[in-house]
Symmetry: C2
Subunit: 764 residues, 2 copies
Amino acid sequence: MSNHRHRPDDRYAPPIYIPERHLNNLRQASNLAIDIGGSLAKLAYFSNVHGRRRTLSQDGLSDAEFGNLQDEEFRRSRLHFVKFETKHITSLTHYIKDCLGDDADQVAGRTIRVTGGGAYKYTDLFEKVLGLTIIKEDEMACLIKGSNFLLNNIPNEAFSFKKNGNPEITFQKTGCEFPYLLVNIGSGVSILKVYSDEKSERVGGTAMGGGTFWGLGSLLTSAQGFDELLALAEKGESSSVDLLVKDIYGGSYEAMGLPGDLIASSFGKAARSRIAGPAREQIHDADIAKSLLHLISNGIGQIAYLHANLYNCERIIFGGFFIRGKKATMHTISYAINYWSKGKVQALFLRHEGYLGAVGAYMKGAESQDVVPGNNYGENFAFSDSFEVNEVMSKALEFLELDRLDLPLVKFPLIEGLDYQADLIDLALDTDARHYWLDIFQDGLERFCKVIRDGESNRNHIDRRIAFFKKKFLECLALLRKNPFAYGVLTVRTLLDCREQFLAEFDFYDPYIKFKQEENTATLAELPARLEYIHSLPWEERQTELIRGILGGNIFDWGSSAVVKINESKQINFKEACDIVQGRPWFVDHLEHWVKRLKRAPVQKMMIFVDNSGADIVLGIIPFVEEMLRMGSEVVLAANSRPALNDITSHELRLLLTQVLPLSPVISQAHHSDTLRVVENGLGSPCLDLSRVSQHIADECLDCDLVVIEGMGRTIHTNFHSKFKKESLKLAVIKNKWLCDKFNCPMFAAVCKYEVPDSLYNDD
Amino acid sequence: MSNHRHRPDDRYAPPIYIPERHLNNLRQASNLAIDIGGSLAKLAYFSNVHGRRRTLSQDGLSDAEFGNLQDEEFRRSRLHFVKFETKHITSLTHYIKDCLGDDADQVAGRTIRVTGGGAYKYTDLFEKVLGLTIIKEDEMACLIKGSNFLLNNIPNEAFSFKKNGNPEITFQKTGCEFPYLLVNIGSGVSILKVYSDEKSERVGGTAMGGGTFWGLGSLLTSAQGFDELLALAEKGESSSVDLLVKDIYGGSYEAMGLPGDLIASSFGKAARSRIAGPAREQIHDADIAKSLLHLISNGIGQIAYLHANLYNCERIIFGGFFIRGKKATMHTISYAINYWSKGKVQALFLRHEGYLGAVGAYMKGAESQDVVPGNNYGENFAFSDSFEVNEVMSKALEFLELDRLDLPLVKFPLIEGLDYQADLIDLALDTDARHYWLDIFQDGLERFCKVIRDGESNRNHIDRRIAFFKKKFLECLALLRKNPFAYGVLTVRTLLDCREQFLAEFDFYDPYIKFKQEENTATLAELPARLEYIHSLPWEERQTELIRGILGGNIFDWGSSAVVKINESKQINFKEACDIVQGRPWFVDHLEHWVKRLKRAPVQKMMIFVDNSGADIVLGIIPFVEEMLRMGSEVVLAANSRPALNDITSHELRLLLTQVLPLSPVISQAHHSDTLRVVENGLGSPCLDLSRVSQHIADECLDCDLVVIEGMGRTIHTNFHSKFKKESLKLAVIKNKWLCDKFNCPMFAAVCKYEVPDSLYNDD
């Protein structure tokens, strides 16, 4: 903490180039933990990252403006995980000592939780050098705790692997589904059944593990290391060593359903006495390595499958040194599980599998201090190393950083079906789409940076920060172009979120705040006239105009380059915006159904996921809300917790509403009687991933009859195909060329999608 | 067949010394089958063995004697199995061809069923050389059929193995209990679930099998053969290669319940990069072999256990080349199953495991000809090679021969409980007892042979036959002294049965027949006086005298050396015999309970397992039967099907009864009204193994209220502890020094054991 205070200018030095900088946070680290494996060790600690931001304040509120911009200090809580080779542990321990400082008072009472096979070996070192109290944590318990934590907190943490598949990697959409089997393949293998966050047990294991592969590989081949042996295996052809079914039966063994190419006996052809077998000198190391890999992987796969079957688990998560994201091992293990289970059991792997033990050990410490971490962490892409299959540890240190979110996130309860998928398109699957969208983000970066630079209120080091942001984001785009799996699922949503996260890292916390304030102020002035016009219309025409208004308001979107371009040439007003929207019939036009439904009965309670500031919320949503309230509905407005582009935040929306109250008696009354409420959704994204929303949202939605979602990010890029357990109304204007091509619709095509779940169709 | 007729003098040449003699039966073989494995092949065929015997005939019956001795030809059906090394298959095929003869008519229509991995390789050879029609049989189906057949027909076929246990080998008492898992470990492993004689399925398998052991062993050690590798393994110490739990954790891993000595990672210490690991040249071949054996055995054991668990089997029968009765493999597999299942699943092995495929293939042929073999075969100890653990194939040919029994045998339905054990003492467990009884049989052999020689009616080659019998039986005793497991369970019963079987092989079919006839004739003369005396007694005294009479009659036992000695010095009469029996209270004296029970109500139906000819049956049992009939009981007399010592056979008993009819109106009337019947028990033993009795017995006993068993062989050596579902009365005189010492009772102590099962105790 004091470190930052004393050297404020260093704050924007690019941390990625001097990774040791991260470790500076160690000075104020709490809850140290370390997982020491035979090859790799992982340090875990917690720190607070300090920053400055400008927000709207209620202080000194005047009629003319609905909030003052004020600077404030804030801190973000962060979990740090650092991976390094175990051989550097002594020097790293001394480095940690330097970071922690010599002050006996500071060190006193601090503890370090130690786990992993090396825990036993290095306790002396930690005790002597660090002077910290050592607490040994059970290895398996840590693995399970770490696995549950990562699955709960990191979207797309788990994935399945299919060699030469399109895609090779398929991320799991959902979080932690119990029960699952956790199979840790280190030197040996432990098989753990995880029933819940609280309950698990070791159900089995085998001594045939990674140590067997590398041990036998050492005796049988000239490979100098585990990874060299794996690489050898990938080049080998095991049929010169393995006895196949066809070698015995001349073909397949049909009575038993065994195909001819199936291995009947691993290494069966290598037997000395077998006449048909080759001499040792004729057998290639690569073939032996391949046969060995098959033997071990098939064996472990079969034993894991049998346990899954015996313990009723449909998912097996494999981890440990043997796997380490290696294609060859993931392939053979996945193949074995698929073969044995006939496709019924799924082999899964974790992006951050290497960190399980360290995460778990850290969590143990947090628990002991009653700081039980909930599901309120998120992956920090800016400081975490990306995920790559066949990754080798090319740097001295690798990092995973998790930011504490404001609110714990849970799945939106009204989602229908088990396989919710937020995103319209998976950019890992569609290469053309991937390059199109990466280009869009890359090509628009200059203009984007200009807007940011103009909007940002914190002018400190502004050009340096912009430059770092640009460089880092370009690197990220380049990485994703090469490896679309680097941060899990790659979609327009994740690209938008990634950009927001990178901005925040360089203290661009809310660069649109000034624009948003100006737009809200300007459109509030137009609201009385708009309301008056609405009120003048007959009932049915009014309902139509309200929807048209929402669509027109949705044109004002800083995220759309089409809109930004129009605005650059000429500032358009709300009326013009409404006219830009496609004429009826719209691209998706359920307007008549919607009006008919409203005519039948008012909605009892609805939740509206709002989008942009300005015309969108003020002239589009507010009049619609007023009408619904007038008809007797209870209305919940769900807004972002954190800023993202010109999206209105829940904080801003609450301030805005106080400005609206004098203009609408209906809204005023609803506000006072609490039938109109604002809740924060826990997110900071222009899109809406309903697999992770705030508990407030989850609680409020339960008795809603209707879910309204508004805006392109929330209803087109995400949730276009989402089904709900209650009625839903999706409203958006398509403002992107690529989407128009995909849907074969004109620019500014309108979507008014009103849906009733099958279960509710009992009349009409 | 003609072969024997033309060369009658050759019949008594000792077949064991010229094993090829067996193959002569091939001339009239039907249903040839062959199982060809990578190393060993097994031929199976069926033949009829012809013999001559003297029996009692009803022809020309006079009042003075109740049967004429007549010679008759008879044939015994026999299944032959011949094991030889596959490398000799070509020459053996030509030898078979020579045996079958050139006669096209004889060969035409004959088939050979072929199974095993080599079936595919050698069909050409069989077709060309033998000119037989080849029928390929599915390998796994044959294994299952063979396994079921052997389990059903061979007592003590299955056994469990415990290294350094006392005993190391424990035979299964019961036959084939479904379901079980059959795990065949050849080059690879097949796991089959056997539901019943008719239903089975392949539930799994693994490519990690014997081929993997020997394949990897070939690459890693200098062992020149599979057995050499196994021998190496037995000398090795795997902890120099395997990573143990204590190597990682410094001790046991208590949180997970893993002991320190548990292997954590097979070959984990052999890894090249591991600092603590030894260099290759420091690792002994033996240690590698041991580690390899553990790896494979533990892996297979675990996979087998998991399948047993998943498919609800409590028994796993392991077979295949990998096992072959090798201590090292049986130990590691048993250890693994016990470890994984925590003792709940049993690893079993088969004495004749190597013959499964050949037996099964033969059975397939028998089935196709509607000669479905039932459970009516028995192991021929005289011609079958004995079972030895760690056996090596030391002879060019090895044999298993199974004799067809007269009747199919089933378990006696009135046995209470699941773990029926016929025998009083297991001579494999008790070394002193083993040597005592082996001595008894050995020391008594001269006297026994003299009795046999005197009694035998067939004088053809009498001295040569006696000499061969004596030689062969002494060899058998010597073998059993060294290896008590040679023929399954070793007990007094099996020794007695073995001797009977050896006698029969040298055409001593019923050497006691003359004595039995003389004794029956003599005692029949005493019967009227005995009956008159019995009739004169008051009711209660009469019941006592009847039991005393059975005990007195039981003194006349040619199987007891104590009795033989008394008889040699002075011929005793029935009255003297009754006086020799211990005075009351007897060693086991339930007489009062028995009389009280009879007083309450007559027995509705009883089954009496009778013992000896002469005084025993005529003066002991007959008066008792008459009394029971008079009281209103239905009486079934269960007698041996085949001769054994001076035991009365069912055939003889039927003839005897016709002599009794004029002497007892009660018996005469019961005989005519069928309330007195004789049934044959399917056996030819002085003991009584109720796990295998004739279907007649099983049917008749179902509605019996009482089971009476008589004689030392049937109630002391066997069934002393047997519990029944109905009332039982066991009557015997202990006429053996060793038994007296064991029970701490005097010579000629009496046993009158009347028992009522707990379930029937509802009053008194």
